[in-house]
Amino acid sequence: MFDDVTRKRRRVLPGFGLTLGVTLLYLSLLVLLPLAGLVLKAASLSWAEFRAAAATPRALAAYRLSFGASFVAALVNAVFGLVVAWVLVRYRFPGRRLVEALVDLPFALPTAVAGITLTTLLARNGWLGKPLHALGVDVAFTPLGIVVALTFIGLPFVVRTVQPVLEEMEPDMEEASACLGASRWRTLTAVVLPQLGPALLTGFTLAFARATGEYGSIVFISGNMPMRTEIAPLLIATKLEEYDYAGAAAVATVMLGVSFVLLLAIGRLQRWSGATHRAA
């Protein structure tokens, strides 16, 4: 225990000044300075101007759509991601290793490719779009299409946060529960699920955060109709194309604020889930 204390205090290893200096300089030039530029641009607006740019009905509709669709997509991922993680860890079946490797596809596949692919798949003449259209459901160019694309984008997050927790889980608590007379279902809901809670919530938040900023896949599938299928990142791009820099900066500042809050929340969640995970 004492060694942990000592290990943290060491400055005996060389290179601290050099590496920290490089890190800080690089981050300042590449990340901090441009971010400051954005915030300054938004700050150059008066409050009324800012509201006029960032809180127009069109912008409000875009926020609603972005956050609403992201929330639904993250929820879908939480449910199915849990099932996928469970199946991958607990069962052996043919093709498991392939599935295991493919789960990360949405992260590796460029979003533009995902966008045109999902659109083609779900358009009225697409493999899935045609039968769905026959059933009276249109997916492409509707908010539903946006949810589908965001679900694809966020798919790995819940799986990859829940999976290691499941792998580490020792069977003794489940065995104890069974010995105490609980049914398997009751063991799962009362013993296993609560242990997965923090990781599940972390995965959900990660998927949500990623979805709120998504752009590449959405531009193709959403149809981009203002007030109906226009997401916030797209609104920023549109304002930029109209050379409305201040307006773009205002909307971007709102989104940036949300991202930042999510980032902090995720940091906390991960510490929390790390703590419960270790304690378990």
Binding site: M1, F2, D3, V5, T6, R9, R10, R11, V12
Partner: protein, 385 residues
């Protein structure tokens, strides 16, 4: 096949007054926590010294400071008369065997052993020769091309030892060197280390929380507790003349009883001990003391009439027998006897007995001190690994 240790360079020889290591008033704090508190000692060249104490007492920190892996907040370290406080670890010429060995997992055994020479740009031929020498010394034949993950715990330990000796350090530091191997291998490794030291004679300090290990191996023991040096002496001195109550309690299986010293006699309830048999009796008319009595410094006999205690339990532990007796007007007392000892005749639960204390140690009880935990019932400290 001797290994020449510590050939001091010309510059060093100039200031090298006292070979060996000197630690002066070393202090190290981590925030509000004082890990090392004003520790000083001297170790002449060639000694094998154990740093003994409970886990978390600051032993490892002292070792790391000597190696330069940690900066002290105060005090200084002298190696062969040379102040090394401002030298980085690589210039101190100290060998360090880490608790979990820290072998380079991507290097073979011989690459590990030769590393210190490689980074010093020692020529290939010389390096090869030195590695072969150490492989022979450590009995690592046939393992040269293996990776650490392919070795047993004991083999890793020997590789770590060989690696630390390659550059002929003037001082060898071993941090809990036997904690990570199982009991059987540990025994074997102890013999190794002792033999190695007899052969190589490098000044060595090893950290351990196992007193048996310290006594079995070391010429001298530094007892460290709560960052302080409690006692510095030979194993026998520590055993027979513990400097503090902590040392007395730490070493061996002891009874701790509160009593009074008065008129040539120490009294604990009905139990009386002639003061001549009690060391470190404080002067004074009537002094409250804490008596520390080892379980093997007791004699029991069956007392038909009277007696001072009643036997409660008799437990046979292999070659020894442990007897628990209740002293009248005091607490329980434990004694240990060899299995077939004549002292055990007639000793059985419920029997009244007389007790003779053959040796005890007294420590004055500060007014308001917490009463002694009535029973110190525990096995001698062994490794917890």
């Amino acid at each position: 096949m001797g290994i020449v240790i510590s050939r001091p360079g010309r510059a060093e020889r100039a200031v090298s007054a006292a070979p060996g290591i000197r630690v002066e008033r070393l202090t190290k704090r981590f925030g509000a926590f004082t890990a090392v508190d004003d520790v000083s000692f001297d170790i002449p060249a060639g000694e094998l010294v154990a740093m003994l104490g409970p886990s978390g007492g600051g032993k490892s920190t002292i070792l790391r400071i000597i190696a330069g892996l940690e900066q002290a907040d105060g005090g200084s370290v002298w190696l062969d008369g040379l102040g090394v406080d401002h030298l980085p670890p690589r210039e101190r010429r100290v060998g360090f065997v880490f608790q979990h060995y820290a072998l380079f997992r991507h290097m073979t055994v011989e690459e590990n052993i030769g590393y210190a020479l490689r980074v010093r740009r020692v020529g290939c031929a010389e390096r090869r020769e030195r590695v072969a020498e150490l492989v022979a010394l450590m009995g690592l034949h046939g393992l040269e091309r293996r990776y650490p993950s392919q070795l047993s715990g004991g083999q890793r330990q020997r590789v770590a030892l060989a690696r630390s000796l390659a550059a002929r350090p003037r001082l060898l530091l071993l941090d809990e060197p036997f904690a990570a191997v199982d009991a059987r291998v540990r025994e074997e490794l102890r013999h190794w280390l002792r033999r190695l030291h007899d052969e190589v004679h490098v000044t060595s300090i090893f950290v351990t929380h196992d007193q048996e290990e310290a006594f079995a191996l070391a010429d001298r023991v530094l007892l460290i507790h709560d960052g302080r040096l409690e006692q510095d002496g030979s194993p026998l001195e520590i055993l027979d003349d513990p400097a503090t109550e902590f040392v007395a309690r730490f070493i061996g299986d002891v009874n701790v009883l509160d009593g009074v010293v008065r008129a040539g006699e120490a009294t604990v309830g009905a139990l009386r001990v002639p003061v001549a048999r009690v060391t470190a009796v404080p002067p004074g008319e009537r002094v409250p003391v804490r008596l520390v009595i080892r379980s093997y410094d007791l004699k029991f006999w069956r007392a038909e009439d009277g007696g001072v205690a009643t036997v409660r339990r008799v437990i046979t532990l292999g070659d020894r027998v442990r007897v628990e007796a209740m002293v009248d007007q005091a607490g329980p007392l434990f004694a240990q006897f060899p299995r077939r000892s004549s002292l055990l005749h007639g000793v059985a639960p419920g029997v009244r007995i007389g007790i003779e204390v053959t040796a005890a140690r007294a420590y004055p009880l500060a007014p308001g001190a917490r009463p002694a935990v009535p029973v110190q019932h525990r096995e001698p400290r062994r490794t917890f690994a």
